[in-house]
């Protein structure tokens, strides 16, 4: 059955070129006359630039040019394209090179272009900057307090914005009348996304046409073109072509417009040479965006029976020294509006301060706001369970939104409703995999032996395919554009299909999953489908790949075009079969007369006839070709249950993950193997936040964890084999029934692990621990609570 291709575990079509090294990354692109740029970055986290002397650098043989911010004073600062909705945002964004002052270590202040990168790096050492260092603040709460160093004139107390959701007085009242109220201070530490490939950009300006071609490591090439032309340079969009070559991972950090993506084209124009800049890992760690970094206080109220009645959240979200492209939207729309989790919590209020500090920019990182929200909610549920001495599973069940409640309005989503779900079903399956009753017996025995065994749950939900444009856009949530996605599907004369999409793929396997949808709908081989993307020349406008939106939005655009193509194929097929269109059906790649499957024309025959156009029905245009712009009516809301089992070694504080169980529901699944791959990587990243990863700045604003020698990424041997399963609750939001699978693991895993460690140490009276749960921290906690035994 041809249609069974959707839902099958076919191998990724992208992989042969990646495995054999034939894929072309930015670093592989060589252009005649290519020149190499290196950027001088601020060694200070907060300083005025009194003067810069570039004479010696310019005199070094092989140097083509040296420039400072003053040379680009006429270029606009970068735009902040998503400001927090409905409130004043005191926005400050990077310039392509800073002119007067810097607000974080790593800000670019000068650039050298040379015949090779080595010479450019040598010349950087010859640039003399007269710095005036200023006082530094790196902590988002401290930055808002009286006497803190002030980073920007337009942002008193370093507050970029103060945003709220919910009814504060109702929540206060509900807390007041709750049987119990639990308060907790919760840190969600800063993380560094660390894609395998750092960022880079090559720009070529052609004076004869005034056109730029820009290759960049971007998850959103069309958006980059729009921002560079319309906002930074003020030139027609048509003068720029942006190409994302093969991208070595992004995790969100490659969504944004960075100074270098504008600097390289500006340099190419000045020098008349193509210019390339490729980030080193050290640069990546200080100048590419980070994620998370919240300081939060919560109060959660509940009845004695475990019913949660109220949740009050106050968060200081560190946004860094300047705003990255969509920084304010992450801790507001994608965080505050998701604080109901999978539960009916009638009263929720959240206040968020977006705060400038002398640290690197913070923006979306895999999960983007939802991991932070899920962490708060899933910790809150456990805190309630602990306070009431109830099983955390029971508290979850007690508060779950029930299948009959959908579409469910959590109120704080400003009119959007959760689409579909059966939260108990995923939880039941995960508990069955764990053998929960037996585990608690094992745990009791372990405790008798002085062992610290624990289990943690995360019954998360998240939000994918964020839409519709009218909800997310400027008048609503402040997103400075739309969020539809586009696709063009063409069935060529030979029956081969070309799909062009505005989405971008950098590890998600879109070329495979989109091909599966096309093959399934048209009844053709997957190999007969080509998916083209990531080049603004030849693809329709699209907003790019992030927020688990490319399948739930982008592939639905493809699907809708396929329906229109099938309708046209039916009309032409009927014409070819000399039958009425009402009397034919499209099935398994053929149009045939109802009840007479032998009277059929294949899609290839019909495509050929449509292309040749020798005999078309009256008024029909040649060719099978359709373009769709799809703006979803709602977001989608994946959910599931993750369970982590840990054992803590009290002599060292080391934590062993003994089991990791994940039952996710991402709606219908196009390729289970791709989904499992996403879940695996996501879990690894989510667990890593709980146990290992932390970006740490010292009080001078220097990134202490500035290399992979210090910043602990997860490794395969840190984990047991993951035990995965799925439930499938299709979304009614889109015709494919798909929700999105790119971030579930990252969102779900972190609280599951922390809840497990807290459970393991609960005999010591531990109720909460801040991440990362490194061996030293855990050892100390155990020492303190056992009097050093």
């Amino acid at each position: 059955m041809a249609t069974a291709v959707v839902g099958s575990r076919i191998k990724r079509r992208e992989d042969p070129r990646l495995i054999t090294g034939e894929a072309k990354y930015l670093e592989d692109i060589k252009l005649p006359g290519l020149a190499y740029a290196a950027i001088l970055r601020s060694p200070y986290a907060h300083a005025n630039i009194k003067s810069i002397n570039i004479d010696k650098a310019k005199a070094l043989p092989g140097v083509l040019g040296v420039f400072t911010g003053k040379d680009f004073a006429d270029v606009n600062p970068l735009p902040c394209a998503w400001q927090a909705g409905g409130v004043q945002n005191n926005a400050n964004t990077p310039r392509i090179l800073e002119i007067d002052k810097v607000t974080f270590t790593g800000a670019g202040v000068a650039v050298v272009v040379a015949e090779d990168r080595y010479t450019a790096e040598d010349a950087l050492e010859l640039i003399e900057v007269d710095w005036e260092p200023l006082p530094v603040v790196v902590d988002a709460y401290k930055a808002t307090q009286p006497g803190a160093p002030q980073l920007h004139e337009n942002a008193p107390n370093n507050v970029c914005m103060e945003w709220t959701v919910g009814d504060q007085s109702a929540v206060d009242q509900a807390l007041h009348s709750a049987d119990i109220v639990v308060k907790q201070h919760i840190l969600n530490q800063r993380l560094i996304p660390t894609p395998m490939e750092p960022r880079g950009c090559i720009a070529q300006y052609l004076a004869a046409t005034g056109e730029y071609t820009i290759w960049m490591t971007s998850q959103a090439p069309h958006v980059m073109r729009l921002l560079i032309t319309a906002f930074v340079f003020g030139i027609p969009e048509t003068k720029v072509r942006v190409i994302s070559p093969q991208i070595g991972g992004g995790f969100g950090a490659k969504i944004f417009l960075y100074p270098e993506y504008c600097l390289m084209p500006a340099l190419s124009k000045k020098l008349g040479r193509p210019v390339r800049w490729m980030e080193t890992r050290s640069e990546n760690y200080i100048s590419t965006t980070h994620g998370r970094d919240h300081i939060t206080d919560i109060e959660v109220g509940a009845k004695r029976d475990g019913t949660i009645t109220s949740l009050k959240v106050n968060t200081y979200a560190n946004l860094g020294g300047v705003l990255s492209t969509i920084a304010p939207g992450i801790p507001t729309t994608l965080y505050g509006r998701m604080l109901s989790g999978a539960y009916k919590i009638p009263n929720i209020f959240c206040r968020v301060f977006g705060v400038y500090t002398n640290t690197g920019m913070v923006d979306a990182y895999r999960g983007a706001g939802r991991p932070e929200a899920t962490y708060v909610v899933e910790r809150a549920v456990d805190l309630v369970a602990r306070e009431l001495n109830m099983d955390p599973v029971e508290v979850r069940r007690k508060n779950f939104i029930q299948p009959e409640d959908f579409p469910y309005d959590p109120i704080i989503l400003r009119g959007l409703k959760y689409d579909s779900g059966d939260y108990d079903k995923a939880l039941d399956r995960a508990l069955e995999m764990l053998d929960y009753a037996n585990f608690r017996k094992e745990q009791a025995e372990a405790r008798q032996q002085g062992r610290y065994l624990g289990v943690g749950f995360s019954t998360y939900i998240e939000i994918c395919g964020v839409a519709p444009s009218a909800w997310i856009g400027l008048p609503g949530e402040g997103w400075g554009a739309a969020l539809w996605e586009s696709a063009n599907v063409r069935v060529h004369l030979t029956g081969k299909v070309v799909v062009t999409t505005g989405s971008q793929t950098h590890g998600q396997g879109h070329e495979t999953s989109v091909s599966q949808v096309v093959a399934g709908e048209l009844g053709i081989a997957v190999e007969d489908v080509t998916v083209q993307h990531s080049d603004t020349l030849g693809t329709p406008f699209g907003y790019g790949t992030y927020g688990s939106r490319s399948t739930a939005v982008g592939t639905v655009a493809v699907y809708n075009s396929l329906q229109k193509i099938k309708e046209k194929a039916k009309a032409l097929g009927a014409h070819m079969l000399e039958a009425a269109v009402e009397d034919v059906v499209f099935q398994d790649g053929k149009v045939h007369v109802k009840g007479a499957p032998d009277r059929a024309k294949t899609i290839q025959e019909i495509a050929g006839a449509a292309a040749l156009a020798y005999s078309l029905p009256q008024g029909m245009e040649p060719f099978l070709d359709d373009t769709t712009y799809y703006d979803p009516p709602n977001c989608t809301y994946p959910f599931g249950t993750h369970i982590c089992v840990v054992e803590v070694d009290p002599s060292t504080g080391s934590i062993e993950i003994k089991r990791y169980i994940a039952v996710d529901d991402v709606g219908n699944v196009i390729n289970p193997m791709i989904v499992e791959g996403q879940v695996h990587g996501g879990i690894a990243q989510g667990v890593a936040q709980a146990l290992w990863e932390a970006a740490v700045y010292d009080e001078n604003g220097q990134l202490i964890t500035g290399s992979l020698m210090d910043y602990a990424l997860p490794r395969a041997d840190f984990f047991p084999p993951f035990e995965l399963d799925r439930t499938e609750t299709p979304t009614p939001v889109n015709p494919l029934g798909v929700k999105g699978a790119g971030e579930t693991g990252t969102i779900a895993a972190t609280p599951a692990v922390v809840n497990a460690v807290v459970d393991a140490l609960s005999p010591l009276g531990i109720k909460h621990l801040d991440m990362p749960l490194g061996a030293d921290k855990i050892w100390r906690v155990i020492q303190e609570h056992t009097n050093g035994v």
Binding site: Y118, T652, W692, L713, D776
Partner: protein, 285 residues
Amino acid sequence: MYPTEIDYHRASSIAEAIELLSQNDDAKLLAGGHSLIPAMKLRLAQPGLLIDISHLEELKSIFVSGDKISIGALATHAQIAASADVQSYAPALASAAGIVGDQQVRNWGTIGGNLAHADPASDPPTVVLAYDGVIHIQGQSGSRSVNAQDFFVDLFATALEPGEIITRIELSNSSSAKSAYVKLSHPASRYAVVGVCAVLEMNGSTCTSARVAVGGATMKAVRSPGAESVLTGSSLDDSALNAAAAAVKSDIEEFLIGDMSYPEDYRQAMAGVYLKRAVHAALGS
């Protein structure tokens, strides 16, 4: 990622390498390059001349001579890990060499380069010290040998004089001993937060001789005479191990190093824990 300009010379012999090393103050030997080149890429090291000795065959061999095992300075970690002679004469060195860095590091990195670099968090120095190794050195004025105990001087500092090259590392036959190296790895670098090597001669259940070395927690690999004396003559029971753990913590006190993630007191405590683990691992208990 982009080193400064360097001259490169491929030495044709040990003598030529020593000659060049003596004549150039800013020269560095290039063997596996797995400590030097990363430092050069970050411009933390800026040698003017690299003297490549990586191809000198006479420094690569591992052989047994009498009751000693001799390991060439250019033997790679992977080579040492896989050597039947090392596995038999100095099993803890074979197992430690098998967990240095990652596979690429082990395929390129050499024991001579590793010891000369004297990174306090590296594994081989601790093990060579516990085996009472002897470092054979050649310089312009001839050859000499230094006991491992005297070789490691300080953080990244050894007894090597300018112009000297490590040629071989010699260990006594410890095939009758029970030995093990265990470490608490830093989750990012996999270097030792603390590493302990125990080499125990046993007569039945009694330990007749114990050598204990600690690294990672300390500015250089150090022996623990206190732990050694507690263990020697004991039956390695819990009370002996507890006393040895206390002794090792005390012995390393003056050498402790620490950082944000793993402060000194934590590393000190872990030295005691890992001493016990090293003994258990050596005994297979």
